[in-house]
Amino acid sequence: MNERISGRQFALMAAYVAIGDSMLVLPSIPINDAQQNAWISALVGLAAGMMVVWLLSAAGRLYPHLTLVQAAEQLLGKWIGKAVSALFVAYLFLSIGAHTREIGDFLTTQMMPETPIQAIHIMYAGILAMAARLGLETIARTGEFFFSFFIVFLAAFILFLIPDIKLNNLLPVLDGGIKPILRGSITMTAYPFMELAVLLMAIPAVRKPQAIHANFMRGAFMGGAVVLLIILLSILVLGPDYATRSIYPSYALAKKINVGRFFQRLEVILAFMWLLTSFIKSAIFFKVLQTAIAQTAGLRTEKRLELPLGMLVVCFSLIISSNIIDFHEADHYWPYMDMTFSVILSLVLLAAYAIRRAARRKGTTGSGNKGKD
């Protein structure tokens, strides 16, 4: 991989992946489980998530100049490594298909009901292919470019909602006990944080390897904080009842903005923000998918596969589910798939590394190979 990313760009990418589609889709799930205590779920999720990121960062830094796929082959041997990588590729692919589907669902239900969903998917996949073709650096720069807008819009969003906050909506606290809160925190840990595993493929691109850890944590935290904020706001402004009933609480939030008689109907700006974070996240996933396929199959060049992949994504995103309710059933088990490819994968890699190092030390009789890897 011959891309070069700065530490700050890496942090930004982590933030984008963490916010990703969570901003729109995530809030309703914990709110459904924990009602007005969903913000506590979010806090738990944030804490757990940071631990997950810490783990991911540790796994990634074993071989900072290798991608996840390459490290897997190095640590687990060629065949097991490739098998794991192939599974990872499948995971990435499923994720992209799911993201695309979410966008299609959102747009056809909320903003543009007359447009056929295929068209939306095709355009989305098209731009993902373009992004992958232009490379990770370009994606990072695009993210940087829009980031200031994102912050400004987010701040404005929050500011305009302050008059509508009803602190009562937080009560009663902890009435259902700890279990619903824990249940709600599962998706909060998974979607923003576990899906950051994808960045393990991008680690070799970072110019200064020593900057990886700090930026990884920083970016993830920033992204998680934004999601937490949105969940909090959803409860405070909409109240748990209404928030549970809407699939897209943040969109409902945006609709509520009514400052003077002018600043209404601004949910389009929210749609833009969400499309932005989703797009950057999907673009990163897509580029990583391309790299992963190239490295698993031992191809000489990474490029040139975007278009067929894009087409496959479109088709796939359409078979994924017949309707939107069905699709959201997946929230019950998708986090565990996320966990497999983030937590379990990292632990496996770390364990393999430790075993190898121990074996090496035993094998050599005092010839000082300790610092080799």
Partner: protein, 77 residues
């Protein structure tokens, strides 16, 4: 009918765009994968427009992870 034509046309266009450059550089493995993915996508697309029900990979994921999910959910009821 139109949809199928569209899908085929898109596949052909994509091939026309990318294949010459790949053949010039003799990227055999890439070409193989390229066509495999392209044909798979086209196939799925055509099957979809004919409304043939296709196996849904999400179901497979559900089969693998569903039980865990249900377990955790019930534990935290």
């Amino acid at each position: 009918m139109v949809a199928i034509a569209g899908i085929v046309l898109t596949a052909v266009l994509i091939a026309m765009l990318e294949v010459p450059a790949m053949r010039k550089r003799r990227l055999k493995k890439e070409l193989f994968l390229f066509f495999a993915i392209l044909l798979l996508a086209a196939g799925i697309g055509i099957a979809q427009s004919l409304h043939i029900t296709l196996p849904n990979p999400l179901d497979w994921v559900a089969a693998v992870y569903g039980p865990i999910g249900r377990l955790v959910d019930s534990a935290l009821k």
